[in-house]
């Protein structure tokens, strides 16, 4: 498992832990509330850390995370964040319809390749992680090395 895959696995685990914390029996809602809040904080901090790290990788133009098409975390060099959000929303919706017709299962990633740049969108828990780079960059290779 290369660097980015291990980071994604860690993020997915934190998202799962957060979801689990919401399903704990709520006999003491005050304690449960604190647990849920802390788990969400851990997840969100991990998302921001990963976005920051990916945004600094050589060959990667920008990285951001979206929820329902709205910006949630972004690397320093993120241009056109609203356009990215709209693209994420449209792409995910179209892909979900296609996936249902073709029996693909839940969408894990979508890649749009243009003549000059490309965008990869990856589902992580309730979020979509968006990575953009020039077309000729091999994303798997670029993301394989620890930052």
């Amino acid at each position: 498992m290369h660097w980015f895959e291990s980071q994604l696995a860690e993020l997915n685990q934190l998202a799962e832990d957060y979801l689990q914390s919401q399903q704990l029996p709520g006999a003491n809602i005050v304690n449960a509330s604190e647990t849920i809040r802390n788990k969400r904080k851990q997840f969100m901090e991990a998302v921001q850390n990963l976005v920051d790290k990916v945004g600094k990788i050589k060959g990667i133009s920008a990285c951001a995370a979206y929820h329902d098409g709205l910006i949630l975390a972004q690397s320093q060099n993120m241009p056109a964040i609203d356009a990215f959000g709209a693209t994420v929303q449209d792409s995910v919706r179209a892909a979900q319809q296609g996936a249902a017709m073709l029996g693909l299962g839940d969408i894990e990633q979508i890649v749009i390749v243009g003549a000059t740049n490309k965008v990869a969108m990856l589902n992580v828990g309730p979020l979509v992680l968006c990575i953009s780079s020039p077309k000729q960059i091999n994303l798997a290779a670029a993301l394989s090395q620890a930052v």
Partner: protein
């Protein structure tokens, strides 16, 4: 003994509500987080600068009420969130229980998706806390 327990429960519920508001304040760009009751009075607030709490409370209730009526006019049923996009930032308001509303004021540089995500995830817990609080 049971009376003492009752008071402690109310106190800890209220303390947890303040903790939730403080947590919202730690989100980038958020400058105030408040709970407003059905009459427009602020019952809990966390803020990083002086703001007119009476004005915030009343205006949040008015804006939310107007948005909710608009939603009903177009057949959208209940309103889950109202987002006011202003020149210098956003005001987001979300219903909790019994007419109480959670309102968050942000600067322009706030990440709207982040604030909205926090609100959406916070509301189910706040609803339980309020049910607990109001039933004691």
């Amino acid at each position: 003994m049971s009376n003492i327990h009752l008071i402690n429960t109310r106190k800890s519920n209220s303390g947890e509500i303040d903790s939730i508001l403080r947590n919202l304040m730690s989100t980038q760009g958020v400058t105030a987080a408040a709970i407003v009751d059905s009459d427009g009075f602020v019952t809990h607030i966390q803020r990083d600068s002086e703001i007119n709490t009476d004005a915030i409370g009343a205006s949040v209730q008015v804006v939310f009420g107007a948005a909710a009526r608009s939603a009903q006019h177009v057949g959208h049923h209940s309103t889950n969130m109202v987002i006011c996009e202003n020149t210098e930032g956003y005001i987001l308001s979300t219903p909790i229980e019994a007419g109480f509303i959670l309102a968050v004021v942000t600067q322009r540089d706030a990440l709207l998706g982040r604030v909205r995500f926090e609100l959406k995830e916070t509301i189910p817990v706040l609803k339980k806390l309020f049910n607990n609080f109001l039933s004691n």
